[in-house]
């Protein structure tokens, strides 16, 4: 029992502690407008290679990303944001990805959040 718990703790620490050294942060201005946009972007970027953490500030529409330098770079991250369907700084969104977005995330949609289906 003790061994097991210990090894799990060690494992958990290993996950959180690796490669802290060359972590950089970036803020990307996006065209996100609602809670669902926030989830779309955060969820997708969470699984992007080299990304440590993601947070979108809906007030400023800035997507803050902590990433491991060397595994990814700002250009790749901006490119990815456009592939989710949103503008990234000066890069325009991918039209196909935009088409697939939920109506509430599109231009002119009601600015209030829409309740997801859980």
């Amino acid at each position: 029992m003790k061994k097991l718990i210990l090894s799990l703790i060690v494992l958990a620490i290993a996950f959180t502690a690796n490669a802290q050294s060359n972590v950089k942060t970036i803020g990307i201005k996006t065209s996100a407008i609602c809670e669902m946009c926030k989830e779309n972007l955060e969820k997708d970027l969470t699984f992007e290679k080299g990304v440590k953490s993601v947070n979108l500030d809906l007030e400023t529409k800035v997507l803050n990303i902590a990433y491991i330098d060397g595994k990814t770079n700002p250009d790749l991250l901006r490119k990815r944001v456009t592939m989710v369907g949103y503008n990234a700084d000066s890069l325009p969104r991918d039209p196909k990805a935009y088409e697939k977005l939920d109506p509430c995330c599109k231009d002119g949609a009601h600015p209030t959040p829409k309740k997801g289906d859980n």
Binding site: M1, L11, A12, K43, D44, F47, V54, H110, K115, N118
Partner: protein, 738 residues
Amino acid sequence: MKFLFLLFLGLLSSVSSFSQGKVSGEVKNNAQEPLIGATIQVVGKSNGAVTQIDGSFELQEILPSDRLIFTYIGYVSDTLPPVFGEKMVVNLFETDESLQTFTIKGRTESLVDEAPFLNILITEAELQKAACCNLSESFETNASVDVSYADAVTGTKMIQMMGLDGRYVLISREGIPNIRGLNSRLGLTFVPGTWIQSIDVGKGAGSVINGYESMTGQINVELFKPETMDQWYLNSYLNSFGRLELNANRQIPVSEKWSSGVMFHASQQFLEMDNNGDGFMDMPKTRQVNFLNRWKYEGDQLMAQIGFNVFSSESAGGQLGFGFNDELTTSPMYGYEMDTRKAELFGKIGMIYPSKPTQSWGFQYSMSYQDFSGGAGRRIYEGEEKTLYGNFIYQNIIRSSFHQYKTGLSFLLDDFDERFNSNQTGSLDSTILRTEKVPGAFFEYNYIPNDNFTLVAGARTDFHNLFGTYFTPRIHARWAFAPSLTLRGSVGKGYRTPNALMENSMVWVSSRDIQYKADLQPEVSWNSGLSLAGSWMIKEKPLAVVADYFYTSFESQLVYDQDISSDLLVIDNLQGESFAKSFQLEASYPFSERIQAKAAYKNYQNLMTTNGILQQVPYQSQDRFFFNMAYATRYDKWKADLTVNWNGPQRLPDTSDSPSEFMLATESPDFFLVNAQISRGFRWGSIYLGGENILDFRQENPIVDPENPFGENFDASMTWGPIAGRMVYAGFRMKINN
């Protein structure tokens, strides 16, 4: 919705006044979308309303001094004065977004707050915590359903609820009774885990709508729906015991109103595992192919679906080397075989009326054929079961939505044809033929005066062609008497027809003579229970605690008595008392957004008269502890899970008449079972790695006298713990959309 004034059992009455008026309007969210099913209550009075499909509501007999409370789950409640003569438009705002997503995340397994029954919903995310393999393993992270070990040969896992065998639980698939009859022991393994969207575990006598068979509880399995399933869902799983699984679900879009889904499962246990070196496979080799396809039509008023499920499964176990094609009765080896095939057609049809949203009807049906062929050692068995089931349900309200009812008619036909060799020689010389035809009618009344109280009173009468009339009354009540406390109570009767041979398939793997003394009678029980659920905010996070106590007593029971002699299994109707008391205390708490813990203590006093003595049912731990800890990073990129079960000592059947070297202790030792799993999410799905029984606990010598399987002391049925030891597994899940 014409009269919302309430008279319940003559307890409440009120004097009308002339200044009362009508109030009508709409409830919307801040995006101006109508909220359906929002409740409106009049403060301090018993009247109220529920919003219709367009968000509209109407209240009668409202005074200008009244205050109306508008509530909707996930939204902030609002209290407003009534407006007469014009439409009230009420906007409700969602509760704090961060809090809300947090609760939803935590709801991987949770008590259904609004349900009058003690219902625990197990979602897909919870099911994925234990990646293997089918319904029999879906309860590993659930405290209310226990998993037990059948025997040392057949590899069957059994479930128990309230300390009673799973055969007393009505297991339905989308409301249609599914795992029952000859299939009650094996059936759980024929519902692949990757087909399951969610499982609803109801403790206590359930609703009368689904029949009289839920004696201790109901487990309803919801499969993935054609209209909402992923376009592709692929899964493969491999474990260190040599089990390989392939699963594929495919959504087939047809048209706007039609949808279709296909689910496929193939699995194989290809290795002969003998971790304890007794010369017997710890579990049989198996091969299973399982296929389900259904079609769904969703019109404006009419909804219909039809589907079919076919599977074929083969098992070969026993002594090492016994193969799928070996003959049981002539092989020099002791073997176990079970081959079964099933074909089932099922469906539903239902109608709603947009002009009368409270009214609807539905009809559920299924017909199936299943055959079995197998046996153990020199015992051979063949069985066939044909089932036809139909259930018509009509739902409406009586004057207001405070009074809802469901009523309907059902029909069940069960045709059994079983053949076996009673004296364990070559031919199938004994036969059990039985046809049950059971038409029935039911009525269930729901009294829902407000959010805090629900009463469900139901009864059904069934006319059994062999056993006469069954009258099944059941009553459930839920009362949220304080903001964070909910009390539930239930009382109900239940019946079932036992199938002595298949339900005792674990005793086939022993030298015990099976003596069948009884004239077949239905099993009859009463179940009653009380539960208290509470939820408190501690450090801004909800600590949820549920305590429940259930008492089941049998009026009539088919008793499988292993205590009379170690050479016998005596099957007889209950002579004396039989009852089960179960107590469970469960608490869950999210320490942070990432870490959630759940712990439970269970105590079962399950006494039955065997060998003339009222004693604890064998193979049943009186005390159990359960602990689960889940860790997940945002969007489930990383997930880790740890489950610990402690099983207290179990009484073992009396073996005092055996030769001393084959005598068992009167009690098993206690033991821990530890499972853990880690998974990593990707955009396309996830990969997982896990271990079961990590401490490698094994029952020592699970088989009595394994060297002489055809001798008179051989017994592989006295199993109380795991046999095969530690298991490691890995797999992936892939979802493809667009």
